[in-house]
């Protein structure tokens, strides 16, 4: 189990990769973000984006999925998040893109009232051309290491 005490400032973690299809972009956007450049390939071609692009909230969802899977691999004792400092959609995400995630720990501090601690980290998703498409700074809560019996 990886507890709050096990996170070091400067530590980086590879989150792995995922790809995104046109069908996935359309399905997410039809349900949550039905703007023409997310749901209509023809309208998207005529827009400033020059083609269909994923909703930024879809890109964030993919980052979350990579984070959850990575946390499971390292058995992190994560208990949720109070929020994010910032999120920037830096480049469009398009059908067929492969996104790779990495994170770096920026800061750690303990809760004064609960047996948990906080980790502030930067997360980045990079596409197959090496371009950063998403940059996030957010905080995650982890359980403290139980005192040795």
């Amino acid at each position: 189990m990886k507890y709050w005490e096990d996170f070091e400032v400067g530590e980086t973690t590879e989150l792995g990769s995922c790809s995104i299809t046109e069908a996935e972009i359309l399905a997410f956007a039809r349900k949550y973000d039905p703007q023409p450049f997310h749901i209509d390939p023809e309208a998207a071609r005529r827009s400033i984006f020059g083609g269909l692009i994923a909703s930024g909230w879809h890109t964030c969802a993919l980052m979350m999925r990579l984070s959850v899977d990575a946390a499971r691999r390292e058995e992190a004792a994560a208990t949720g998040s109070p929020g994010l400092d910032s999120c920037r959609w830096l480049k469009p995400v398009r059908p067929g893109d492969t996104l790779t995630g990495r994170t770096e720990v920026l800061e750690t501090w303990p809760s004064r009232s609960k047996p948990i601690g906080f980790v502030r980290r930067r997360l980045e998703l990079v596409n197959q051309l090496g371009e950063a498409v998403l940059a996030v700074v957010g905080v995650t809560m982890y359980r403290r290491r139980p005192a040795a019996a």
Binding site: Y32, A61, R65, G80, G83, R88, W89
Partner: protein, 145 residues
């Protein structure tokens, strides 16, 4: 259509009505945030949340749906650069009914693109009891007249 010139700092907009269902919470979580308290009622009961709750990113997705449905049609926007200061303040549960309250906080003219500007909009997502469940400051791109 409201362009960059037409929105004023201090303007407040209230809109949207989103009924949160158990099925949708679980469907979103299966795909994007498969943690036990988003997926499984029994596991969620045993967790610190005391019952099934929506992924925070799902609440964000519901927020953007309400924005696109109610605000985007009347505003000359061209997407967003992202957001700052997102807070997940309270759990969102099955049966909750969410709405949005948005306030124009700041207008920033673009020096490189004279045809557009960035508008900082603070939004609060509110449940049926009037409690703020999530808040954020979006950086929305507006076209100029």
């Amino acid at each position: 259509m409201k362009h960059f010139e037409d929105v004023q700092v201090g303007d407040v907009m209230r809109f949207g009505r989103y009924e949160v269902t158990r099925e949708e919470i679980v469907e979103y979580a299966r795909q994007f945030d498969p943690q036990p308290f988003h997926l499984d009622e029994e596991a969620a009961k045993a967790s610190m949340f005391g019952g099934l709750i929506a992924s925070g990113w799902h609440t964000g997705a519901m927020f953007i749906r309400m924005v696109v449905e109610h605000m985007t049609p009347e505003h000359a926007t061209s997407g967003a650069m992202g957001f700052d200061d997102l807070k997940w303040l309270r759990p969102v549960r099955p049966g909750d009914v969410l709405s949005v309250e948005s306030e124009i906080r700041e207008k920033i003219e673009s020096r490189s693109r004279p045809d557009r500007g960035t508008v900082k909009i603070e939004s609060r997502i509110i449940n049926q009891r009037g409690e703020v469940v999530m808040s954020l400051v979006s950086l929305v791109i507006y076209l100029r007249r």
